[in-house]
Symmetry: C3
Subunit: 364 residues, 3 copies
Amino acid sequence: MNLLLQEIRHNPLLWLLGFVPVVFAAAKFKPEAHTLLFVLSVLAIVPLAVLLSHATESVAAKTGDAVGGLLNATLGNLTELVIALTALRAGQIMLVKASIAGTIVTNTLFMLGASFLLGGLKHHVQEYNRVSARVQAGLLFLATVALLVPSAVGTADSGTGAAFTQKLSVGLAVLLIVAYGLGMLFSLKTHREFFTSAKPAADGEAAWPMPLALASLAGVTVLVALVSEIFVESVQKAAEAFGMTPAFVGFIVVALVGGAAEMASAFSGARKNRLDLSVGIALGSASQIALFVAPVLVLLSYVVGPTPMDLQFWPGAVVMVLIATLTATLVTNSGRSAWFVGVLVLMVYLIFAMTLYLLPPRVQ
Amino acid sequence: MNLLLQEIRHNPLLWLLGFVPVVFAAAKFKPEAHTLLFVLSVLAIVPLAVLLSHATESVAAKTGDAVGGLLNATLGNLTELVIALTALRAGQIMLVKASIAGTIVTNTLFMLGASFLLGGLKHHVQEYNRVSARVQAGLLFLATVALLVPSAVGTADSGTGAAFTQKLSVGLAVLLIVAYGLGMLFSLKTHREFFTSAKPAADGEAAWPMPLALASLAGVTVLVALVSEIFVESVQKAAEAFGMTPAFVGFIVVALVGGAAEMASAFSGARKNRLDLSVGIALGSASQIALFVAPVLVLLSYVVGPTPMDLQFWPGAVVMVLIATLTATLVTNSGRSAWFVGVLVLMVYLIFAMTLYLLPPRVQ
Amino acid sequence: MNLLLQEIRHNPLLWLLGFVPVVFAAAKFKPEAHTLLFVLSVLAIVPLAVLLSHATESVAAKTGDAVGGLLNATLGNLTELVIALTALRAGQIMLVKASIAGTIVTNTLFMLGASFLLGGLKHHVQEYNRVSARVQAGLLFLATVALLVPSAVGTADSGTGAAFTQKLSVGLAVLLIVAYGLGMLFSLKTHREFFTSAKPAADGEAAWPMPLALASLAGVTVLVALVSEIFVESVQKAAEAFGMTPAFVGFIVVALVGGAAEMASAFSGARKNRLDLSVGIALGSASQIALFVAPVLVLLSYVVGPTPMDLQFWPGAVVMVLIATLTATLVTNSGRSAWFVGVLVLMVYLIFAMTLYLLPPRVQ
C-alpha cells in the first residue's frame, strides 16, 4: 500500500484519482448534470487507466517473458475494452464502433505522430527497429482489410442483408483472433530476437509485488467499469452541449480518454530517444484494438448485449482507418524519423478531426 | 514416349491422368450428372496442367534464353487461357471475369502466402531477389489500375453506357499487352542481369526432347480444351449442389484448378529455400494473367464469343484485386520472409474466400 | 536587355515569343475564331512560362539560399496560378478544379515517368536522393488525403450540403498551407543537409542581374495573365472543335501547357544523369500545386471569384490523384530507376488520358 501511495506522489497524473469519489457522488446527487458528469468521468478514467497499465506491467514483469508478453498484450487495452463493454451492454453499438475505429486512427496517427514530433524536436534524427514496426503495420493492414470487406460489400449492394453481415462478422472475428494469437507466437516465441528493443521496459519505475499488482488489477478494473457507466451515459448529451457531433465524440474524445495512459508512455519514450518503445506502443495498441478487442466485442455482443454487433462500419470510418494504416505503413517503412514526419502524420489526424467536427450530426 | 511414362511414374499428380478418359466417358453416358462431371473434370485438368507446364518448359529450355523466356511467359498460363476461352465461347462472360480476378487474387495471395508459410516452417528466415519482385509487383499494379478505372468510372456514373466501356476496354487491352511486351524486353533482354536467380530452373527434372515436347504441347492443349468444355458446363450447377455461390466458384475453385501446376512448383521451390522461384512464379503468373491473358480475352471476344467482353468488373472484385496487389507490394518490399508473413498473406485470402462463400448469390 | 536577347537566341522554345503579339492581334480582330485563339494562346504561354521560370530562378539565385528556396518554391508554379486565377475570375470553377487535379497527375506521372524513360534510354541504371523524394511524396500524400476526405464524405452522403463542404474546404486550405510552410522550414532550414543535391542548379545558364530579373518577373506575369484570359475563353469551345471532352482539356491540355517550362528542365536533367533534379521538379511541383496553389485558390475565391470554390472534386479525379500519388510513392521508394520504370509510370498516365478522352462529356 505504501508503494501505491509513493507511486501516486511521484506521478502528477495520479493526483486526478481524487475525482473518482467525486464522480460517484455527483452521479448520485446530480444525475441530470450530463456535462458535469462527462467532465468528471473523463478526469477520473485517465488516472485509473494509468494505474491499470502499471498493474498489468507489474504482473507481466513477475511472470517471465512469454507469459508476461502475453498478459501485456491482452490486458494492455483493458480500459478501452471495459468502456466498450459498458457501451455494448447499454446497446450503444454506434458508440462502440466509432470508438473502435477512432482508437485505431488515434493510436496510428495522433500517438505515432506526436511521438515523432516530440522526439524530433529534441533529437535531430531518430532511428528505430523497422522489423518490429513492419510486423505491427502488417497486422494492422490485415485488420483493416477485414473491416473493409463487409463494409465494401454492404455498401456495394444494399440487398446483402443483415444476416450475411452477421455471419461474415463472426467468421472474421474468429480469423482476426487467430491471426493475433499467431502474431504473438511469432513475436514472443519463434522470432523474438527481431523484437527485443521494442519491448516496453519498466523504465525506472519499480515493479509492484504480486499481491498488490493483482489486487490493483482487479480493483481498478471494477472502478473503471463503474466510471465508464457514468461516462457512456453522459457522453452523448454532453457532446451536444459542447456542440460536438456524435461521430467526433466516438472517434476523438473516447479514443483520447481511453488511450491516455499509453500516450504518456509513448511520448516519454520519444523524448528519451527510445522511439522503438513509442512506435511499439502506438502500432501495437492499434493492432491490439483491431485484432483482439474488436473481434472479442463482436463475439461477446451475442452474450452481453441487447443486440449483436457486426463489423460493418460507416464508409467514412473505413476510409479513415484505411488511410491511417497506409500512413503508418509508409511512414515507418524507413526506420528513421525527424520532426516533420510527425507533423505530416499529425496533419492527417487533424484533417480527420476537422471533418468529423464539422460533419452534420445525422450523417455519422 | 518412354520418357513420358517415366515422368508419369515419378510424379504422383500425373496418376490423375487416368481421370481423363473417365471424364469423357462420363460426359457421354451421364450428361446430366453435373456434380460428378465437375469433380471428374477437375481431377482431369490438374494433371493435364502439370504436363502442359512441363512441355512448355522443355520447349523453352531447347530454344535458348530469350525465346525460351518468351515462350515460358506466354504459354505459362495456357491452361487458364484455354479454360477462359471455352467459357467465352459459351457466352459465360461473368465466369471468365470472375476467374480472371480470382486467378490474380489466388496467385498473389494464396500461392505467395502458402509459399512463404511452407518455406518459413522449414527455414527460419528466407531471402529473395527484391528487384525482380518489384518489377512484377509494378506490372501487377499497372494492371490493377487498368482494371480499376473502367469500373470506377462505370460505377461513379451509370450513364456512361456500354459503348464507352467497350471502347475503353479495347484501348486498355492494347496498352496492357504493349506494357507486357516491354516488360519482357526489360527482364529478358536489356536488364536481365537483375533477374537471373528468379528464372525457373529445370529443377532436376530432365527436359524432354523437342518432338515429344511439341507433340505434348499440342496434344495436351486439345485435351485441356475438351475437358474444359465439360468443366465449364458443369461448374455452375455443381456449385449449387455444393452450396457454393457462383462468385466463390469463379474466384476460388476455377482459379485453384487452373493454377494447380504452378502451385506445385512454387511450393516445392519454397521448401527447397529457393524463394526467388516461388515469388517469381506467383507474381509472374498473376501479372501474366492481368497483362496478357485478360487483354487477349477482351480482343478475342470480338472474334470467338457470342458477345464482346469488357474490362468492367464487379466493384467487390476490383477491391479484392487492389488489396491483393497492395499486399503483395508491401510484403515483397523487404526481400525477406518468415512464416508469419505467409500467415498474414493467407489470412487476407481467407477473408476474401469467406466473404465470397457467404455472399448471397444474386449480388456477384 | 542584351542578356534577354541572348537568352532568346540560344533557347529555341523562346522563339515562340513571337506568338504573343500575334495572339493579342487575333483576339482583337477575330474574337470568334476560338480554335485559332486557343492554338495561338498555347503557343504564346509556353515561352512566357519558360521566361517566368528563368526570372524566378535568377531572383532566387541572388537572394541567398533560404530566401531563394522560398521564392523558387512559391513562384515556381506562377504560370499555373495565374491561369487558374483567370479561370476563377471567369467563374469557371470546374476548369480550375480539373486543372488542379490534372496538374498533380501530369507532374507525378507524365513528368516523372518521361524523365525516368528519357534518362533510362541513355543511362543503364540511375540513382537519386530518396530522402528528398520521400518527403515530397509524403507531402503529396497528405494533400491527397485532404482532397479525398471532402469528396468521400460528400459522395457517401448527399445530404451533407454545400455549407459543410465550404467550411471544411477553408479549414483544409489553411491546414495545407501550414503544412507547406513547415515543409519548407524542414527542407530549407532544419534538415537541409538531406536535400542538397535535389536543389535546382542554374545548370550552365547565366543568372540575370537583379533589375532585369525583377522587371521580367513583373512584366511576364502580366503578359501571362493577359494571354491566359484568351486561353480560358477559347479553350472549351476549341476543345469541342477538336472532339475533346472538357475533362480531357482541364486534366491534360491545361496541365501540359502550364507545366511546359518545368518539363523542359526535368527532361534535360534526366538526360544529364541528374535525376535528383528531375524528381525534385516533378514531385516538388506537384506538391506545390496541391499544398499551396490549390488552397490559395480556395481562399482567394472568396475575394476575386463570383462564386467561392471548395475542395470537393469529381470522384474520378480523386481516384486518379490517389493512384498518381501511390504510384509516385511506390516508384521513388528505391532511389533507383531504369527505362522500364518510366514506361510503367507513363502507362498509368496513358490509361488516365485515354479514359478522359473517351469519357462522355456530361459525366465530368
